[in-house]
Structures are given as structure tokens and as C-alpha cells.
Symmetry: C2
Subunit: 208 residues, 2 copies
């Protein structure tokens, strides 16, 4: 097979053209098109044309939060690594992940819960609005659910796209039930790459 | 839906049980089963039961390389973040990624090639065996191809699972053609999460 000769700066736009061609007659909601296509771009999985759920106005809510210097908190170092930091830091925000913190590990062990669960409690004590980007651990979403229900957390938004087989579908249904600004990949699919892709797609559309 | 009450230490093994149930009658090659299942675990995408290609003996080759202190070089910080470092560092290895290095960026710009391409050239100058874990950039695989063909690189192994739409399928075919120890996700799928999952599945089976 022949290698297409293409300049580095054009690879991404060419990829999105091909995704658009492959989607064919499939109609995407224009409000969510860039997010959906970036999820497909990062996975080559066209299920993301159908499985993403958005609460009304969530894109603008996340953009405004980023512009106000909100923190982004992830459940994995992979998601943290995948999020483009330049704009977020420009507006005074940071991308944080507490999963590897010693205090989180110790408390999780003592209580018999996951580190992901405890890391969300730690995030709830931050002193500014938080956008959560959860791509791995359903227990992180369950922790957010408990915190919101207990009045201890009011997230700016939650990107809830954990992947997997144990309590994943259920944790996403709870997030939807919670009624906070949210983007959810319904079903089992998702991942740290998907969480990062969603945050990036949204922030790239902020006009600078 | 009801949340399954499960202890943190049991979530992963329960996930693999469910994957096994969902695979049903599908027979996996026992040599590659743990790699295939971990790719499904990290993506919830059962295409990985069919699209992975392995050269003979590649699992043992990678395990021996890790035990000899080989470096793992990734094309993204995400893949680097997703690889478990403990065992690799215990054997004297490291997980490296040069994509963000200033010298790589400058040279890529000057030559009109991708940073991924140049970062592989930098890796070829390392002073010990390298296992490549490529989950994002087909140009990284094309760079490895050129380096091997030019006699400038003899990789311990290449995990070639870039994802996407431009030169992705072609770059993987070139890798297979090269004949070095390799694991490849045929077709468009792959990702930084898949690259990390493959390295982790293999290193978790090293008997300590």
C-alpha cells in the first residue's frame, strides 16, 4: 500500500475529512459534532457517533469554566497526560490527578474503597470549580454521586466516560440521574483517551 | 440498575471473568490471550479479539528484554503514563518519550516532518535495547521502518498500534513487512491506551 504524502500540519484535518466521509449520511448534532468526531479520531471506533449523551448547554458550561480558571480533575495519569494544558493554564487552571497520592492510597486501603473513590473526595475539597474527566474508574463516578447527594460537591461539569465491565454502565446511569452538567458515553465504552479527547475538543473551540 | 458490591482488589479479576463470558465460544490463542483480553479490558471493544497480529515468540522476546533492562519508548506521554513502571524500573529499564523535547520539536520543524518521526530517531541513538510502544503516530512507525532499513536501528520489539485514518493501515503493513519482533493491531484501531495495555499485559506475566 502506498503512503500518502502529507505535511505534518495537515494530518489532523485530513483525518477529520476522512471521518466525515466515513460517517456518510449519518447526521450529527452540530452542537456536539467536534466532540463526537474527536472521540472517533482517538479510537477509530464509530460507536461514538451514537453513544454520547450531553446535557443541554454542557459545551458552553465547560468552556466558560475553563475561561474562569476551573481545575480539570482526572481519575488517571493517562487522561491527565492526554489533555492539552496550554489554554487551561493560560486561563489560570490546572489539570490535576490525585490517584497516585500517598494520602489517597492510605485512606483507600484503610476504608476498603478504591483510590479512585478517595481521589474524588480529595478533589471535592479544592478551592475552585472543578470539571471532572473520568475515563477509567466507575468508582470515581460513584464517589462524585455520593458527594453531590451529600451536598459536599457541586461540579462545574462531569465528563463521565469510564470503560469496562463492573459497575460501568450503572455508574453512568447514576451520573445522568444526578442532573449536573455532563457528557457520558453510554454503555461499556470509554477510556482515558476518550476523556482527554472530549476535554480537548471542547477547549479547542474556545475563541482566543 | 443495581451497583455490584465488590472489593477494590477484585474488580479487575471480575472484569476479566465477564470478558471471558462475553467472548463465549470464541477461541483465543493461549499464548496471546492475556494481551488480547487486556486490550478489550481497556477499550470494551471486542474487535481486539480479531485484529491483533503477533510475530512468533514476541511475548517471550519482550519479557526477556524487560528483564535485561531494556528501555520502553513511546510516541505519546499518554502511553508513557499508562505503562506500569515498577517492574520495568526494577530490572533497570525506563519508560521514555521524547515527543515533547525541544530538540525534537526544532528538528521536526526544520525538516518538515512530524515530531513523532524525529523522536524515533532520537530513540535509535539510545545505548541499550529498546521496545517501542507506538499507539498514536503512524509516522513513528514509518520512522522506525526507515531506521531499520538503513541499518541504524535494531529494535528489541515494536508494539505498533497507532490509531487513525491517515497512513495508519499502511504503516502497520510496513511494520509487519519489516520482520522484526512485533505486535500489531491491524486496521485503523489502536491507541495510546492499547499500546500501554499490551506492554502491561506482557510484563504482568513475568514471574518475579
Amino acid at each position: 500500500m502506498k503512503i500518502e504524502n502529507i505535511r505534518p500540519g495537515e494530518i489532523e484535518s485530513r483525518s477529520f475529512e476522512i471521518i466525515t466521509e466515513l460517517l456518510g449520511d449519518k447526521k450529527l448534532d452540530p452542537r456536539y459534532e467536534s466532540v463526537i468526531k474527536r472521540c472517533i479520531h482517538t479510537s477509530a471506533d464509530f460507536d461514538y457517533a451514537d453513544n454520547l449523551y450531553f446535557t443541554d448547554g454542557v459545551i458552553e458550561t465547560i468552556q466558560e469554566a475553563i475561561k474562569s480558571g476551573a481545575y480539570i480533575v482526572t481519575d488517571t495519569q493517562m487522561a491527565r497526560a492526554g489533555i492539552n494544558k496550554r489554554r487551561i493554564e493560560k486561563y489560570g487552571g490546572q489539570v490535576l490527578c490525585f490517584i497516585g497520592d500517598d494520602d489517597v492510597a492510605a485512606e483507600a486501603k484503610a476504608r476498603g474503597v478504591t483510590r479512585s473513590f478517595v481521589s474524588m473526595e480529595k478533589a471535592s475539597r479544592l478551592d475552585r470549580p472543578v470539571i471532572f474527566a473520568i475515563g477509567n474508574a466507575p468508582t470515581a463516578l460513584l464517589s462524585i454521586y455520593d458527594l453531590v447527594k451529600a451536598g459536599k460537591l457541586s461540579p462545574a461539569a462531569v465528563v463521565g466516560v469510564p470503560v469496562g465491565f463492573v459497575n460501568v454502565v450503572e455508574s453512568k446511569e447514576r451520573l445522568i440521574e444526578l442532573g449536573v452538567p455532563a457528557i457520558v458515553a453510554k454503555g461499556r465504552k470509554g477510556g482515558s483517551n476518550i476523556a482527554a479527547a472530549i476535554i480537548n475538543a471542547i477547549q479547542y473551540k474556545i475563541e482566543e
